[in-house]
């Protein structure tokens, strides 16, 4: 049995003066998807993929002309400068393509990802062991402007606990694959933060495989960059595995920020929660969220929920939000999805203003509150504080009281 509910809400708000939220909930039962997610072609060799036309499911909402060099071009696949904190029980080192772990978490499903895979020389391997909680920060800020391929291996040994922060800043034209291997009973948090320079381009595919009774929290925070697309997919292929996928993005004028989130429930009693929240402001600010959840026949007792919410702060922006749910078993604990894109809630603003708070400050409070929900769940005070400040700076770039209303 294949039941699926592919539905899309594409909200384009251009001087529409539209108020309130567009709500989207289940309802499309019985619709047949064009192609089930599990049948997507995959290969590590770029030559196996035809030239990208922009009509492919994975490319149709991406400005491919702005990342053509990453899809097709020659890439530098060597080592680059990193800045990593030294932490007990965490090893950070460069490994060869022949490392046995490479390729165990996933395989590219599109050409830019395969291009990176074909051309990388060395992989950055971060290996977490030990049961004590620890935080490791790995920062990349000197990638430069020539197109580059990268491969990151992130392994949490069985029963280990750790929080890994991948912080990205500066210039970049980067296409990369990040393999995340979460061992049995491990508890791993991965946070990738994109605060690139204004003209940077970054395409990333994250492949996570989750061991038995293991738990992974995966957080994507994207604030800076011209085109940034981070596509995290999680394979829950062992019993009791759990993923919490969180995302926060704030798109300014001209920015394209995209995430295609995929959760593959492939074992009994697996659990997933996907929550992505975005804010958009300024002419041409563009965000895309595609959330695919597949619950296979093997995944009995699965519990899954995915949601995306976008807050539109000014005219001239566009947010695409596309949740897809494919269910191949009747025996699940729960599955649902929600998507909403809207402007400020007038009732919230009224309530705050009725307490003496100016309209502009009320708007700030609402946006900050909206995004804080994600920030609060990261679990690292230093990063949380830094992100709160970064969001504040984003907000200072907008005049929230004159959004054309």
């Amino acid at each position: 049995m294949t039941i699926s509910a592919p539905e899309a809400t594409t909200t384009k708000l251009e001087n529409t003066g539209q108020l309130g939220y567009k709500k989207h909930t289940d309802g499309g039962w019985g619709l047949v998807p064009i192609q089930t997610r599990s049948e997507r072609f995959a290969s590590t060799n770029v030559e196996d993929f035809p030239a990208v036309t922009g009509r492919e499911a994975v490319w149709k909402l991406t400005p491919i002309d702005r990342v053509a060099d990453l899809i097709d071009g020659q890439l530098d696949g060597g080592e680059y400068a990193i800045d990593a904190t030294l932490v007990n029980d965490v090893d950070v080192s460069w490994v060869d393509r022949t490392d046995a772990r490479i390729g165990t978490a996933g395989t590219p499903e599109e050409r830019a990802s395969a291009n990176a895979w074909t051309q990388f020389d060395k992989a950055l391997a971060i290996t977490v062991s030990g049961e004590e909680p620890k935080t490791v920060r790995v920062r990349r800020s000197e990638l430069g402007t020539s197109p580059r391929a990268a491969h990151v291996l992130l392994e949490a040994k069985p029963f280990s606990t750790g929080l890994v922060i991948l912080a990205n800043a500066g210039q970049a034209r980067l296409t990369e694959n990040v393999e995340i291997i979460v061992g049995e009973g491990a508890n791993l948090t991965v946070v990738t933060v994109q605060q690139w320079d204004d003209d940077a381009a970054h395409l990333a595919s994250h492949f996570t495989t989750v061991g038995r009774d293991a738990r992974v929290k995966h957080v994507v925070v994207t604030l800076g960059g011209s085109v940034v697309r981070v596509n995290p997919s999680t394979h829950l292929n062992a019993q009791g595995g759990e993923v919490e996928a969180l995302g926060l993005y704030f798109a300014d004028a001209g920015q394209h920020l995209e995430q295609q989130v995929y959760v593959d429930h492939d074992a009994p009693h697996t659990r997933s929660r996907v929550t992505y929240k975005g804010a958009l402001q300024g002419e041409g600010a563009r965000t895309v969220w595609i959330g695919d959840v597949l619950i296979r026949q093997s995944a009995t007792g699965t519990d899954s929920y995915e949601q995306n919410r976008n807050l539109v702060l000014t005219d001239g922006t566009r947010a695409d939000s596309v949740p897809n749910l494919e269910i191949e078993t009747g025996d699940i604990a729960g599955a649902g999805h929600a998507s909403a894109t809207g402007r400020f809630d007038d009732e919230q603003l009224f309530y705050l203003q009725a307490r003496g708070i100016t309209e502009e400050e009320a708007r700030r409070l609402v946006v900050r509150g909206f995004l804080t929900e994600i920030v609060q769940q990261i679990g690292d005070a230093e990063l949380q504080e830094r992100l709160e400040i970064a969001i504040e700076e984003e907000l200072n770039g907008t005049n929230l009281s004159t959004d054309g209303r």
Binding site: Q348, A354, G356, E361
Partner: protein, 254 residues
């Protein structure tokens, strides 16, 4: 002596079908320290009056005036009205995700006073007001109204009333959905505010039971967008016995 004056107020609401008139000539004068009860059947326009005083954008004033000590309230923005000393305890307080009660209260207090409250003093005030309203201290770290029960939302409204110290408060069905204990706690809060700051109160209610705890000086019966009858506290007792039917007869035959 501060005074809130409403004169021949006509208000309509914007609906998909166009503009719908709701208030049809309301006259009301409230002085500081006075408590006025407005009672009326569902749909008579009580909340519309409350929202219009607070400045909700959904309502359009077609004619008439609202003044606070002679100042034109209708010319003020919502936040200016609050800073001028008006407060509305809402019938249905809204949730503000990600904004904690602590942060919200401090932000509001700072906005109303024009400066941040002295921190020690403020924390003490918040704690004791919460305690008086039997609100658990964990509420401080919760998001505004998120997951609050109906009764908790109403207490949170009165908490704001006590801390922000307005000159006039409009309480829109603060009693609805409260059990007897909660009703007493909330009423005590209002009475404390009256005592401490000589608050003027416009108490909107559908039922007479809250009037056992908050004594009105005047009672106004609100029917079909205007005040149909006025009197002292004894009018509330009559309404308790007779209901609103007497006032609705004219409508039914019209």
């Amino acid at each position: 002596m501060a005074v809130l004056e409403i004169r021949d107020l006509h208000v309509s609401v914007e609906t998909d079908q166009g503009s719908k008139p709701i208030l049809r000539g309301v006259d009301l004068t409230i002085r500081k320290g006075e408590t006025h009860a407005i009672m009326g059947p569902n749909g008579s326009g009580k909340s519309t009056l409350a929202y219009t005083i607070a400045g909700h954008p959904k309502y359009t004033v077609n004619s008439g005036s609202i003044t606070l000590d002679g100042q034109d309230v209708l010319a003020m923005t919502v936040d200016e009205r609050a800073r001028a000393g008006l407060f509305l305890a809402m019938q249905y307080p809204v949730e503000i995700p990600g904004v904690t009660v602590t942060n919200f209260l401090r932000t509001a207090k700072t906005a109303i006073d024009g400066e941040a409250p002295p921190i020690r003093h403020w924390i003490k005030d918040v704690k004791s007001s919460m305690k008086n309203l039997r609100m658990d201290s964990t509420f401080a770290e919760r998001n505004v109204n998120e997951g609050f029960s109906g009764g908790e939302k109403k207490r949170h409204e009165i908490l704001q009333l006590e801390l922000l110290k307005p000159t006039f408060a409009v309480l829109d069905e603060t009693d609805s959905g409260l059990d007897v204990d909660a009703l007493k706690i909330v009423s005590e809060g209002v009475n404390r505010a009256k005592e401490n700051t000589n608050l003027g109160v416009l108490l909107i209610t559908h039922y007479t039971r809250i009037l056992r705890y908050i004594k009105p000086d005047f009672v106004h019966v609100f029917v079909d967008g205007r005040i149909a009858e006025e009197g002292g506290p004894e009018l509330a007792d009559r309404l308790e016995d007779e209901g609103y039917d007497r006032f609705l007869v004219g409508e039914a035959t019209a």
